[in-house]
Symmetry: C2
Subunit: 217 residues, 2 copies
DNA sequence: CGCTATTTTCGAACATGTTCAATAATTATT
DNA sequence: AATAATTATTGAACATGTTCGAAAATAGCG
């Protein structure tokens, strides 16, 4: 099986490198096959789809995100700060791919696609992504209503997906706007979260949580 | 120019019909050309891209949305009710295309695509879409802070885009979940909106509006 | 080892969006 | 009306993701 693993690994590495350097569109299967020294058909023996190769890249990026977050959390225990760190580290991790982000996004968006963040094929990278926000919540010392706290990691992840969507369309120099949005959103979250404990906020909050639960089911 | 217009119209009609019946992927340029009785190259003389044909479909659907909304508003002057109507009518208008929604979405999502809802090529359908929510606001008798009121149509449109995104992934029978989400979100909006007038809500609200303004600029 | 079954590899073929040089049809000009 | 210029149309060609049947390499087994 060593030989087989070799081939697979060579394809993966070649593909990821090419995605990094040339972007999604410019990376053709024929190119990958050439550079990996194999045939086109052989690549398809290991990866049923070009998007399955993209998935390998996602795994790398998610791993990078998690690493960056760990390095950056430091001793921060305020959930607002931790959220900001998580969002900014996410932007840092995806930064190098901004140029060809549209291509990747288009590949990811189709629900039937291998890389749809909601589909079964992407369970692993998705779990890693949610893990980041799980740690944002778990490492915080803020007092948060239990039911909200339970849903928070997934909610924050969803917000992060929204930020990523914005980032794809963000043409500001160095994606400054996205970073500003990340900071501003974290801050806003920080000012709104304490309100969740006020009695009159329970109504709308429960409504919101119910709504999201229904949508997820 | 009559002949030219004829050709263009025949292409448009054939394409829209095919999109309706066969969906995005199954509708190939060769098929359109065949059914329209012209050559492939000629289709490209009028429409630089397959997605430009999708745009024609969007225009229809947007027109349909607006019509439905007008018919359904009736004498409702409560913004909550009007919002619910607008959202549900949107789902009604797009309903027939749910099966091939992923294909359309993938085509629409790329910022460089002709059909990106944020790009310049889609200015017309986007204006129509925002128009719907402009009417939601304008026809309401609720008292709303002026600055919020100004941004509201665009905000609601953005929320509608989110709903549409959810709808694409919604596999419940008849997209029941999306409808429930539309109703629930409207209701929630109805309970939260009055809070915007309370003094202590000004802080977070202004923060939010600022944030969005920054993001848009 | 020799033979069979399985795994791996190959490259041609296909479908489809798109491009382009050539040709036909139409319009404008003299 | 004749000619030049512009517009419309064609079909072949190209790039690329994907499929597939055949061939080669490898593993399992007597």
């Amino acid at each position: 099986m060593a030989k087989s693993d070799d081939t697979r690994a060579k394809i993966t590495e070649t593909a990821i490198e090419s995605f990094r350097e040339r972007g999604y569109d410019q990376t053709t299967i024929r190119l990958i096959a050439d550079e990996a020294g194999i045939s086109v058909g052989n690549a398809y023996y290991y990866f049923p789809t070009k998007n399955h190769l993209v998935q390998e890249l996602y795994l790398r990026v998610q791993g990078d995100h998690l690493e960056r977050v760990h390095a950056a959390f430091g001793s921060s225990t305020d959930i607002t700060k931790r959220l900001e760190i998580a969002l900014l580290c996410g932007l840092d991790a995806t930064g190098p791919y901004h140029d060809s982000a549209p291509g990747f996004l288009a590949a990811a968006i189709a629900p039937t696609s291998a890389v749809s963040p909601f589909g079964p094929d992407a369970a692993e990278p998705r779990a890693m992504a949610i893990q980041v926000f799980q740690e944002v919540v778990d490492g915080s010392t803020n007092t948060i209503p239990a039911d909200l706290k339970r849903q928070l990691p997934e909610l924050l992840w969803l917000a992060y997906m929204g930020l990523t969507l914005f980032w794809v369309y963000d043409n500001s120099e160095g994606q400054t706007k996205s970073r500003a949005l990340a900071r501003g959103a974290s801050k806003l979250f920080g000012t709104v979260l304490p309100l969740a404990r006020l009695p009159f906020a329970r109504g709308p909050l429960n409504q919101l949580l119910d709504l999201i639960r229904t949508a997820q089911s």
